[in-house]
Subunit: 344 residues, 2 copies
DNA sequence: CTGAAAGCGCTAACAA
DNA sequence: TTGTTAGCGCTTTCAG
């Protein structure tokens, strides 16, 4: 090791971390005065403040937030948003709504992705609790949320987003999946479709289960049979969904209408339809920016509103204990052509 | 004070924040043993660890990361990614690449949006510096980056992403905007286009300036005049871009080809073309998921690779000082139909 | 307006 | 395996 040599050089960056004491000494003031000057407190002579700031800049010093937080007993108010996939536009709309709502309350957002992995989710949540976050908004990848009780027990408000709580009393903000799906299937039925396919994402995700159940229910309500050959679940990527839809199209009796249970699956269906002369009718769950340009009929909720509601629930919880609530956001069905095609 | 009275009540939530001492007392061990048990250190009897954990759970205690961080002198290694718009898929691809690269190095990601606002950007960066982040990846909304010198001076490695540094020596990872744009315009020219429009985002963003300059250069190289009527800059939303493109289409001599200088502008152009029988050729900068399904020719870089490169640059910087580098990622032109339409 | 002393909650060092 | 002591860097008293 050549540490000593390196240490010897005069100018280079400080080896020992700088503290307020160093700045105070350099500026010729007491530690407390330096603290006041740098912390933006009043009652410091302008000249003193300038001298301290200059010294800090010269030395390359910055306040240590861990120390000030410890002494103050209160952190910068920060809310954590934990999602499953940073590349999914659904979460991005959510994040945008969350951020704007937080900004109105002077709260900071810090966002992390669990990559739909339970262990990663746990680590992220644990870190937020240790840091005494002002709150946590969680799109949980867990099947069972009992373990999350400890979050609230340790004083950090938690709101589950998009996925309904299971095995726990917790605030949640979700989408009215049943109404949305029922509307979509009913519209198909009204147009005379009788062979309506369902293409979904992973079954363990509660919105997917709700959408599937609503699909089955809507068929039953219309007196239509639920044909297992027309059901494809578990496509967690657009590519997988595309393959699933191709399989449906290759059936001896293909569906005349396809319901895709989230945005990724819808993208897959669009890809699968590309070279098909007379594709089935298509309605997808989740709105997306290019649906308009593509003429794709979608049903879904306002994701930014979902984010705003989640923040509102969090702040309500922070105000004091009360019964847990689950709010379901309404969906709208937006006709853009693909969903209105008649049976072949 | 009525502390004694309050303390006397049995059940309710603690008023005074809990500390390790409370847990240690409840578990009948010393503070240090409690620390070891909860901190996951070795050399604690399993029975002891269990007792301490149970006590902590009962009391609703969790370690205070500010205190442990202060004592340890080192935080959880966290990298901050600051982007301008959480809803832009370009940033989401970037975030995905960043996250995966960080995960390989055991680093955590925390992400925040400046909303393209300079003051917000400053506040976020300042907070990351105070928290002694392991590094900052910044898509800066600032025109001039001189003020960011203090970030590095205070010991936090900084890498500028997507936008070239100005007025500062700093590591940066950008896209080869000149090559990408030149390729796109050259392809138009090779197909016989002579009236090629440029539709861009805000001029103050350096990638936009580079793309515009490359557009002008490519026209000159082909011996074509730069017609100001065919240039529309400053569309920061898809809606604004749509209007700009409509204006171009309404010209007495409309363009036969349109180059859109980023993904948002491309979306606007697609919308503007919707009801047009014979739209001009279109090439857009930035790849996007639905380009395939829509048959839109795009030129762009791999955004996930951009994120990985940014992390690599950050870690290199963290290893020790060296000359600043700017790396430009190569672009590819992907023909999907819209760009290959001949002049009307 | 400025300063001295105390201590926030935790963990590194050293015992035992 | 467990306990004792000291102190991380800052801000809060309380005095000048």
């Amino acid at each position: 090791m050549t540490d000593d040599v390196e240490r010897g050089t005069a100018s280079a960056a400080a080896q020992r971390p700088l503290t307020l004491a160093d700045v105070a000494a350099a500026a010729g003031v007491s530690i407390k005065t330096a603290s006041r000057a740098l912390g933006g407190e009043p009652n410091v002579a302008d000249s003193t403040r300038g001298r301290v700031r200059a010294a800090a800049a010269t030395l390359g010093f910055t306040l240590n937030s861990a120390a000030s937080q410890l002494r103050r007993g209160t952190a910068v108010r920060t809310v954590g948003l934990v999602v499953g996939d940073l590349a999914n536009p659904f979460y991005m709309g959510l994040a945008t709504g969350v951020e704007h709502a937080l900004r109105e309350h002077g709260l900071q957002l810090t966002m992390a992705s669990s990559d739909e992995d339970a262990a990663t989710e746990r680590a992220i949540v644990e870190d937020l609790v240790h840091r005494r976050a002002t709150g946590i908004l969680l799109v949980s990848t867990l099947d069972e949320h009992g373990e999350l009780r400890s979050v609230g027990d340790r004083g950090v408000p938690l709101v589950l987003v998009d996925r309904a709580p299971s095995g726990i009393e917790a605030d949640a903000v979700v989408i009215d999946n049943v109404a949305g799906t029922t509307d979509a299937i009913a519209a198909f039925v009204a147009r005379g479709h009788r062979r309506i396919a369902f293409v979904g994402d992973l079954e363990r995700l509660s919105p997917q289960r709700e959408r599937y159940a609503a699909y089955a229910g809507a068929l039953a309500a219309a007196g239509l049979p639920l044909d297992p050959a027309l059901v494809a679940r578990g496509s967690h990527s657009a590519v997988a969904a595309e393959a699933a839809v191709r399989d449906l199209l290759a059936l001896a009796e293909p569906p005349t209408a396809v319901f895709t249970a989230n945005n990724r699956v819808t993208i897959g269906a669009i890809a699968a339809f590309r070279d098909v002369a007379h594709p089935p009718a298509l309605v997808g769950f989740d709105h997306f920016e290019l649906a308009d340009a593509l003429g794709i009929t979608t049903v879904g909720a306002d994701t930014a509103a979902l984010g705003r509601e989640a923040v509102a629930a969090l702040l309500r919880r922070g105000d004091g204990p009360h019964a847990s609530t689950t709010r379901a956001l309404p969906t709208t069905l937006v006709a853009r052509g693909s969903g209105e095609r008649p049976p072949a």
